[in-house]
Amino acid sequence: MTGKALTNSELPGQKVIPIVPQAEGPSGAASPDADDAVMVSLYESQKKIYPRSVSGLFTRWRWGFVFLTQLVFYGLPWLEWGQRQAVLFDLGARRFYIFGLVLYPQDFIYLTGLLVISALSLFLFTAVAGRLWCGYACPQTVYTEIFLWIEHKVEGDRSARMRLDSAPMSLEKLVKKWFKHLLWGMVAAWTGFTFVGYFTPIHELGMEFFHGNMSSWEVFWVIFYGFATYGNAGFMREQVCKYMCPYARFQSAMFDKDTLIVTYDGARGEPRGARSRKADPAALKLGACIDCSLCVQVCPTGIDIRKGLQYECIGCGACADICDTVMDKVGYARGLVKYSTQHAVEKRWTRSETLRHVFRPRVLVYTTILLAVSVALMASLALRTPLKVDVVRDRGVMARIVSGGRIENVYRLQLMNATESVQHYRITVEGLPGLAVASENLMTVEATESRWVAVRVQLPYDAAPAGTHAIHFEIAAQDSPAQVREKSVFIVPR
């Protein structure tokens, strides 16, 4: 029993939950003895990480993505398309405008398609290149990068920030901290404002803001989204990736030994150790790693890449950048920490050998499915009829006999015009001999509007036996080739 060593000595009166199994297991050697066992809390305190700023190839790539994604995010709502905002999700009117496209709630299948494509792209991308999404394009990384940059400008680099945090409160500290939070708050507020600008026309939103008459929901969402940005990019940072992000947890299912990851070349680096710049490492029996620990200092999730692949690693390549800088300085070859695959490092593959292993069944299957779904979505979007029709039999009248003994059924048709111009639709009906629309059959529907119309359909006396008959409505746009065929039933009373 390993538990008893601790219950009596240092923690009198405190309950101990032994999560160590009994030593007499089949693999008793793996169980810790009382000597090397430690007592830990059930919860872990967050240790603040002070990532050191870094420059290099991968950092430039990351900043490239920061600019690209944020240019799109902050810029898109200001883009105009004809008389309206180019991208606008009008939840109140249930119309979703994406450049030339007007989508109705009935088009939700396209959103599903888009999400399926996004998921498949992520699968494919992860299988080939690991967590490049996490390291370069994920909003969590992008906003953390922006907030870190502000922090760096205001408070200084890693060591200065650590000093400032451990220093007692002073005027300088107060000013720096307030200034940082002010800048963070401005970026966050602008982000929240932009986010709401996708749902309320952003020019109107700006006017409402200046006149102080934003609706309570708009205020709520600006604050909510702004606060989420502020909290996640300013405080939560790597905690989001480690504890909240589901993708970080299930991506191991898409990893294999040919997946691109940030690797440390242990065979070349070990045994690590400090040495004088003039010393010959071979003579000292040392590897290329000079154990400067900079790769740990720059890591935004605070891990040591030299311990191998860890689930916290977001694949940002900061350690690779800093290590290359160090290697240059000490005059060793670059690439001690680099993007590579587990197989490539183990088997010392060349670059072309590594690339050849990109084409493996997993990747090919993901690619095929992704292409198929993308083509299907594009085709269905391109062939989409910008007219939707619902045919509903009248609630009140089953059938009536009108002058001349004709049988009349009444239908209500909902015509939805999914174009941005006024449309005229001709309604015809078929399915029984002599069946015809008896009411006004040319309907006008305003741009992006929908309209219910009552349609009377008549059948000559004795043209069909009593009972229910399948019929079809044909609704044809007069100014475009859009045409819809909808089925319904015609009832002849006994």
Binding site: Q14, A37, M39, D394, G396, R400
Partner: protein, 305 residues
């Protein structure tokens, strides 16, 4: 609340709720103080398949605060809103109350609109697309169930578009019909008319009034017997709107056309009812609705066309 005869179950629910929340809090407090033992290499000592070792990956402490926040939220919620048994909560919120408040807000929002319509005459309103759009929606929600969405009715339910009115087609009369409802009563008249053959003759006379196909010999025989009907339908068969007696000469057959239908009507009579809408709709709504219905047979087209 009158769900139960005593307050026992309410107290039972309240106690379970409070005890459960406190138990969660207690659990968090204890787990925050408790310690667990791990090896110095941060493994738990659990080994599977010979070499698969379980690492100790504890939950971050801030996560616990999220639990605490949910507990605080529960406390505030239960204080403000109903949730603890039948305790109504400080805000006194009820779903019925919220519905009431939203309805009141809705009527307040449209009040200026209805005030404008109340000052307008039905012929003016029939030309106003906004009034007709509102009228159409009112009609669809309240009238179309019987009169059909095209307002042309069906057997037993009058057509409102044909200019033929049982109780009068003036806007005020339509408003009166909607507000108070109508009961149309055709008494069984077979005994007053005479033998079944007489009834048949009267039926043919009635058919002849509108020029419908009929047996002219029977019609001429029936003419004398029609006196029994004339009290309500008039000697000329043109009906009487004050009584709701239909015009028999206009070839509009609410309860069916032809000899059999007319014979059945004379023999059995019929009571037909239009329910009163005064409790369902406001005076202003009825004003707009009556204008819409008036417009159907007086040249206005349904709104959005």
């Amino acid at each position: 609340m009158s769900d139960f005869t005593s307050n026992f179950w309410s107290g039972y629910v309240a106690i379970i709720t409070v005890v459960s929340i406190l138990a969660c809090l207690l659990l968090l407090w204890f787990s925050g103080r408790a310690k667990a033992m791990t090896a110095t290499d941060n493994t738990t000592g659990h080994v599977w398949d010979g070499d698969l070792r379980e690492m100790n990956n504890p939950l971050p402490r801030w996560w616990v605060w999220l639990f605490v926040i949910t507990i605080l939220f529960a406390g505030v919620y239960l204080a403000m809103y109903p949730g603890l048994g039948n305790r109504p909560g400080k805000l006194g919120w009820t779903s019925a109350g919220q519905h009431q408040a939203e309805m009141e807000k809705g009527s307040k929002d449209v009040a200026p609109l209805y005030a404008k319509f109340a000052a307008m005459t039905p012929p003016d309103m029939a030309k106003d697309p906004q009034a007709m759009a509102i009228g159409e929606r009112l009609f669809m929600n309240n009238c179309a169930q019987c009169h059909g969405s095209d307002a042309r009715g069906s057997k037993g339910f009058p057509n409102l578009t044909d200019g033929d009115w049982l109780h009068g087609g003036a806007p005020e009369k339509i408003e009166e019909t909607i507000t108070q409802g109508r009961i149309g009563n055709m008494p069984p008249m077979a005994a007053a008319v005479g033998t079944p053959d007489d009834v048949k003759n009267v039926a043919h006379y009635v058919l002849s009034l509108s020029g419908s196909p009929h047996d002219s010999l029977r019609a001429s025989l029936g003419k004398a017997k029609f006196v029994a009907c004339a009290a309500c339908h008039g000697m000329d068969g043109k009906g009487n709107q004050a009584l709701g007696a239909p015009n028999l000469t206009d070839d509009v057959w609410l309860h069916g056309w032809g000899e059999n239908a007319i014979v059945a009507m004379i023999s059995n009579g019929k009571v037909n009812q239009m329910p009163a809408q005064a409790d369902k709709l406001t005076k202003e709504q009825i004003h707009v609705l009556a204008s819409y219905v008036w417009g159907l047979s007086n040249g206005s087209k349904p709104a959005a066309q």
